[in-house]
Assembly symmetry: C2
Homo-oligomer: 548 residues x 2
């Protein structure tokens, strides 16, 4: 219990209690009182971005790394700018708390046309109900603290965004003085859990060649160690979806690689699809994730565990928590086995340093980046060949790869780097982005400079929307060229490089490694028609659905 | 009737038929087929912006200039990025047609997790229903053409945005072959109209000192000439709201100035508020528009004509069209009069060229800009002191001032310049923006460069959110400084100037006038605590509502 239990104070305390130390946003008059309160709080650091969109993406990335992220904006002109970033957090299960200021209750009388207002005072709330799992407008101090608890709990329970609207005259209002937070007590039904684990054990023990297909929910629930323990104890190999990439260290001997139907590598596909005991753990069944419907796995004949529920061979296992089931698997009497030969993984080619003036290609770029990664690198890939090419990167640690691989919103990566480095100051993000995606949100490097962060940004500069060209090309896929390497001149911070050859790329990366005082942006000139093999396969599948 | 009546073709033909020649957007796979169709159409020019937000603002500005604007984006990641720009168009009555691609009907079976999808296939439609006056998902070719007509008609009737969702496999589907567009036939009820005009005539003729308060709907419905005719015939002076600024030429002898309660100039306020015959024509009763509730006019004791209806002294006049009422006033037997002395307008001071090294101030900047305006200038003001300072600009023509003065979304001005110059190629926009607003969307200068436009951008660089500082200051109002004048280095186009003194400003403006091949950006260094008198008055009113 805080001394005062004012609505604003209580909200901040609860966020802090769940590990939040940074809040992203842009101030505006309807939220100024709350900004001031946050700014004065010793445990909170306010990160104001150039545009609300940047704050939304940064909070999403922070949530993926830390388990909870917060974005705080003003009413209307702030809130509605992050509809898209919140929808992404919903689609990809990222627990983001959206806080929006709002006109005071006192000033709403007679429904006046207050600035920033759209239709009525519930418009924004209704919009956010479309892509949040819980929401509240904190209009009554008597119930506000309870509402805050309910809403934050939902974000943590479902790993999805929630929405809190805070009228500006409620921020300093006193809530019930004796109200205290009661920790969540949701539990699995013990009988259902025991039965499910017994069934799962039997299913796995009967299988000749079980395989784990692990997805992003393992990361969202912080279960990477439990997954690894389960795999190691039982000797069952692990494939991951692209959204779940890096769910286990990609250098682990039991790691198979990315499974994504026909888009992926054939040997991995065959190994997974021919398994007689598929264990799907927290993996979304989405189109890009599964190679645009070319996947032929069947959740109805598998163990299929998600936060929404667990099913085994098609029947529902009842009231189970996802995390209890994963924990339970580690202790279940599953017989250990020695896996047979796994598909041969192609070791990344060693990039010969300084081999001269060959123009750089996407393939060679990723080969070079492979040797650049360290256990402290977090790779953040934007949508496009930045993401598909990154398939071939070997991620060392766990949870060290971030990308909007399902919702696929361009412009995530640069703002995400802000969220990642705030969440994990010991890491240095490596950001992979296309030129088109950079033009959407890349100037958030301004925020990077404001807070002294030092990500390395690789711009795959192929002069337009190259993911779309193979589907259907036209001048609408062309964009205006930027001298990306000159951005440090605008910001008075960072260093820029423009590279066209392998040797230049190599030199730029060496210098980037040495320069840690600020961000580095490397503009990598790539031929307009060059693309990674994974992207070629993907766009061929997608192109069949676009008609000219 | 087109030869084919395919859904996509019909939609394009209807837009062209209403004067649309430019469509703003960003392509994506769910909308590629339609982009291709538009690109091949001889009357349509596709304007692809850096980010969807830019396209949304550009289409809004185009709609304000041309009477209809169109923004076209992909599903989810495109559509939800323009929630805010569409909400602005709704709040400020700008007729924008939002077209979003969507997954094909064929590929929706079994509700698969297609990329860019949020919750269900109706999520985005429901969101847009919150800030549009009509919407349709064109899922059935048999009804699609009718739906297109219905929805576009609503945009024109209510001057507000509408939403069309176009599944990608419907673009080339044949609609009813013999369907043709039937022009709208909505009319005023003749009796109601005659009665209303008779009442209005009596009300005005009885008044000793009638005043017209004209607002933005006069511009939206293209009634500037009718308003001027009415004022000149009757000798009734005209004040305008800030949202309606430039509704009549501000150099006209009957023009009073901007009325905005205590925020505005006292003499104008007194003149308007003491009138015994107030004629409110198309003016929103909003907070900023009316000086944050300090206005003391009463629509219940006035003629109050809006597109939603007309009332006289508080009683509703029935089924009238706004435009018929305004036309009718011009022909009504209202007695002409010679207005008494009007409030003395302060003539803009002549800016002495080259008076040396005095640091530039907001006041002096606007004085200098006053002498820079020509009848071909369109002034676009972003929110902040760019808008409030612009109060003191004298706009020569009609409809030559654009600003989101009610909804107040930062970042409108630079993208709006694209829309304005496409809509009126003979004009050269003068864009006034703060440093904070520029950091949100200013890099759309890339689109300006791509299409060879030449606006002049004035950045009022006062190192942060200076509108908020007088309300409640903190480090959250500080932003990272940009060398705005170096942006031409990034884009390989345009010219940049950084000015700190009056003489430098003067030189930069002279050079800007002479350089017409591309955009000009002038970074005007202003003291952190300098602001226009209008902004000081406004933020004092607003600050009383923010509590620390």
């Amino acid at each position: 219990m805080t001394t005062s239990n004012r609505v604003g104070d209580y909200l901040i305390e609860q966020l802090c209690g769940h590990g939040v130390e940074h809040i992203f946003g842009v101030p505006g008059d309807y939220v100024l009182t709350f900004f001031d309160l946050m700014a004065r709080h010793e445990k909170i650091r306010l990160i104001n971005t150039c545009d609300e969109q940047g704050a939304g993406f940064a909070a999403d990335a922070y949530a993926r790394m830390r388990g909870l992220g917060v974005v705080c904006v003003t009413y209307g002109v702030g809130g509605l700018k992050i509809a898209n970033t919140t929808a992404q957090a919903y689609a990809e299960k990222s627990p983001v708390v959206v806080i929006s200021g709002a006109p005071g209750m006192e000033e709403r009388h007679d429904n006046p046309l207050l600035h920033h207002k759209v239709k009525d005072f519930e418009t924004q709330l209704r919009v956010f109900q479309e892509f949040t799992v819980a929401s509240a407008s904190l209009e009554n101090p008597a119930t506000a603290l309870q509402e805050i608890d309910r809403v934050i709990h939902a974000a943590l329970r479902y790993k999805r965004p929630v929405y809190l609207e805070l009228p500006r005259d409620m921020v300093l209002r006193q809530g019930p003085v004796h109200y205290t937070h009661s920790p969540d007590s949701e539990k699995s039904d013990p009988e259902s859990l025991a039965r499910a684990l017994a069934e799962a054990t039997a299913f796995i023990n009967e299988a000749k060649r079980p395989v784990i297909l692990a997805g992003v929910e393992i990361q969202r629930f912080g279960l990477q160690d439990q997954l690894l323990n389960f795999a190691q104890k039982t000797g069952i190999p692990v494939a991951s979806t692209i959204l779940g990439k890096s769910v286990v260290s990609e250098t682990h001997p039991l790691y198979l690689g990315i499974y994504e139907g026909a888009t992926g590598i054939d040997a991995i596909r065959e190994y997974v699809e021919s398994s007689d005991g598929l264990i799907i753990l927290g993996a979304f069944m989405t189109d890009i994730n599964l190679g645009i419907y070319t996947a032929t796995i069947d959740p109805q004949r598998s163990i299929y565990a998600m936060s929404e529920g667990v099913s085994i061979e098609g029947h529902d296992c009842g009231a189970l928590l996802f995390e209890d089931f994963i924990h339970g698997l580690g202790d279940a009497p599953i017989r250990p086995r020695v896996p047979g030969p796994l598909p041969q993984r192609v070791a990344p080619e060693v990039f010969p340093a300084g081999n001269g003036g060959d123009p750089i290609t996407v393939k060679r770029l990723f080969e070079r980046l492979n040797s650049f990664l360290t256990p402290d690198t977090v790779v953040i890939a934007d949508v496009g060949d930045a993401l598909f090419g990154a398939n071939d990167l070997l991620i060392h640690g766990a949870t060290e790869f971030l990308s909007p691989a399902y919702y696929a919103s361009l412009g995530f990566a640069v703002p995400a780097a802000i969220g990642v480095q705030m969440a994990k100051p010991e890491t240095r993000p490596l950001v992979l982005t296309g030129d088109g995606a950079f033009q959407m949100t890349g100037m958030e490097l301004s925020t990077v400079a404001l807070f002294g962060l030092n990500p390395i940004i690789i711009v795959l500069n192929n002069k337009g929307y190259s993911t779309e060209r193979p589907m259907l090309d036209g001048s609408f896929n062309d964009i205006h060229p930027w001298n990306f390497s000159r951005i440090p001149d605008i910001l008075g911070a960072g260093r820029g490089f423009h590279v066209t050859t392998e040797a230049e790329l190599d030199r730029a990366l060496v210098e980037a490694e040495a320069y840690t005082e600020g961000f580095v942006i490397i503009d990598v000139s790539i031929d307009r028609d060059d693309r990674s093999p994974a992207l070629l396969r993907l766009t061929e599948s997608l192109g069949k659905r676009v008609t000219r």
